[in-house]
């Protein structure tokens, strides 16, 4: 068995076609494995559909164009908030919801740094980007496909974009 710290995907050509040099990072096995799919298109074998591991947490970062949101009429903005309310209710019922908040606009942001022991707090970030971080949901999901499904239903997915990031799990010390 070939075990090394090098994760390079090299093939070691020694004449045998199956001599594929596999390199494994020790300790990487314990987490984030494939769950067994509960809704496979061709799942016809009646195998257990229980998940191999529990749900994973994903953070859905919501990026909106503040300009676009600011330009909404009262009725448009009420309708948009109504959609958010319904969405939050929906993911509470489905068991995906862990937490979620909306953020005040970017002009309220302060950036804090400590360099050489000296703290500085400045206005900003002065993001030149078109979209700004406007809120988040922390969700439980079976896998990335499940998380993408949830994220695609966040109302801002139609106006801005949603960044889906898995939450890092640290092994117990």
């Amino acid at each position: 068995m070939i075990v090394s710290h090098d994760r390079g995907d090299r093939a070691t050509a020694q004449g045998d076609p199956w001599r594929i040099g596999v390199a494994i990072l020790p300790g990487a096995f314990g987490r984030c494995r494939f769950p067994i799919a509960p809704n496979d298109y061709l799942a016809s074998t009646g195998r257990s559909t229980t998940m191999r591991e529990g749900a994973m947490k994903y953070l859905c970062l919501i990026y909106d164009e503040e300009k676009k949101l600011g330009a909404m009429s009262k009725s448009e903005s009420d309708a948009f908030m109504g959609e958010y309310y319904a969405f939050s209710e929906g993911i509470r019922k489905s068991g995906h919801y862990v937490a979620g908040e909306a953020l005040q606009p970017i002009h309220t942001a302060t950036t804090v740094r400590v360099r050489n022991g000296k703290m500085s707090a400045t206005d900003g970030p002065f993001a030149e980007t078109k979209e700004q971080l406007g809120g988040f949901y922390l969700i439980n999901a079976r896998d990335l496909n499940d998380a993408i499904q949830v994220a695609s239903k966040i109302p801002s997915a139609r106006l801005g974009s949603i960044e889906v990031r898995p939450i890092m799990v640290f092994d117990k010390p």
Binding site: W18, I20, L25, P26, S44, N145, I148
Partner: protein
């Protein structure tokens, strides 16, 4: 002793044959059972190593694939147990994998085929970067080595290996599931898979850069993937893509002269076209069209089939080809399709009609940097006797092409222009 060695060599050949035929199936199932690409690749390696050791002594098992799967799985769990002495978190994993043995011990044919589809859909998951989807598919589904893929794409092996490692890390860490998409997601996800196969074929058929016009191995791999997909998922567009690839492939021998020069469709020696591939491709086009759920690949294949069925360039049914391009434009309104349609219109209605269309496309700026738009314009100007314009357009095309045979072709055409 001599007999033993001979028997050993025979078994060795069997192992090699099983590897070629079945190693990707075994890998696909091991990934499902072990839940990890790297662990499964290691298990695959161990299983074949064990086969070389055991089969000469105990005989080749009745079902070599099942033997390899269960041996690989056993070796992986065994390895985890041994490593668990240094990493306690592996104890639980080994126990869990072991406990799952009952319902997955002997894989039936259906679940094995499901596993191959799972592998394809996972490698072509849209959350992976496009480059990585291609590399991972060729590596895991086709079994090409990193070096082979790097050579085919003229990339450094280290870069390519890094791409594959990162993709596997994302599959693991973001938990991209090992599954075939649900029916609702299938059309979009199948599009992504077909696109990867199409890109691999194109890279092999008309290498985007470099000295050689075709890289046959990649086209062959793409066709193998296309056959696999059609076999596993009888969707019309999977059929259409396979047909498209087969019909293009049928012209391979005629596309280059013995000196390695590019030969255009109209000038090709049609007796060099592969009749077998044309028959197979045309039949697939018919089936896909009759499903009435076809899309852009089927339409492109239908256009290729019309060309393939013409006894000579002059006998080409350009009216039908323009009609198919009209339908294709509705399905996929892209400037490249418009350009191809313009070329077909030129053949049906004369060069001036085509030139008017191409100039309109270029005026919109969509294909200003696309060498084929300029070489098509050059060709029509040449046929209209507008030599000065043809010269400018050939020169522009020459600046833009990155492929050596195309460059030589354009230079030849340029030098043949009257003064």
């Amino acid at each position: 002793m001599g007999e033993d060695a001979a028997a050993g060599a025979g078994v060795r050949e069997t192992v090699d044959a099983v590897y070629r035929a079945d190693s990707r199936r075994v890998l696909a199932t091991l990934i499902r059972l072990l839940g990890d690409f790297d662990l499964a690749e290691e298990a695959l390696h161990d299983a074949f190593t064990a086969a070389v050791e055991h089969w000469p002594r105990d005989g080749v098992p009745a079902n070599p694939r099942a033997w390899l799967v269960s041996t690989g799985r056993f070796k992986a769990i065994d390895g985890l147990r041994r490593r668990a002495r240094f990493d306690a978190s592996l104890v639980e994993l080994a126990r869990r994998l072991d406990a799952e043995s009952d319902d997955s011990g002997a894989p039936d044919k259906e679940s094995v085929e499901d596993d191959r589809l799972r592998l394809i859909f996972t490698c072509c998951h849209p959350a992976l970067p496009p480059d990585a989807q291609i590399a991972l598919t060729l590596r895991e589904v086709c079994g090409l080595t990193t070096e082979e893929i790097a050579r085919a794409f003229l990339t450094g092996a280290a870069t390519l290996a890094q791409r594959i490692v990162r993709a596997k890390a994302k599959i693991r860490d973001a938990r991209i599931p090992y599954q075939v998409p649900s029916r609702a997601d299938l059309p979009d996800r199948l599009d992504a898979v077909l696109h990867v196969v199409y890109l691999v074929f194109n890279e092999g058929y008309s290498a985007s850069s470099g000295a050689s016009l075709t890289r046959h191995d990649l086209s062959g791999e793409a066709i193998r993937l296309g056959r696999l997909l059609r076999e596993l998922l009888p969707e019309p567009e999977a059929m259409g893509l396979l047909a498209l690839m087969l019909l293009h492939e049928s012209r391979r021998a005629a596309r280059t002269s013995p000196a390695g020069e590019l030969v255009l469709l109209g000038d090709q020696d049609r007796s060099l076209w592969s009749r077998d591939l044309i028959t197979e491709g045309s039949a697939l086009v018919q089936r896909a069209l009759s499903s009435r759920r076809f899309g852009p690949y089927t339409l492109q294949a239908a256009i290729a089939a019309v060309h393939a069925e013409a006894a000579s360039a002059a006998a080409t049914d350009w009216a039908q080809i323009v009609g198919l391009y009209d339908v294709l434009l509705r399905a996929e309104p892209s400037p490249v399709v418009q350009l191809n349609r313009a070329a077909a219109v030129a053949m049906r209605d004369g060069p001036l009609a085509g030139l008017t269309l191409i100039d309109a496309i270029l005026a919109r700026g969509d294909l200003a940097d696309y060498h084929l738009a300029h070489s098509a314009r050059a060709d029509l100007c040449r046929r209209l006797g507008r030599t000065a314009e043809a010269r400018v357009a050939y020169e522009r095309a020459l600046q833009l092409t990155q492929q050596e045979p195309e460059r030589r072709f354009l230079e030849r055409r340029l030098s043949e222009l009257p003064d």
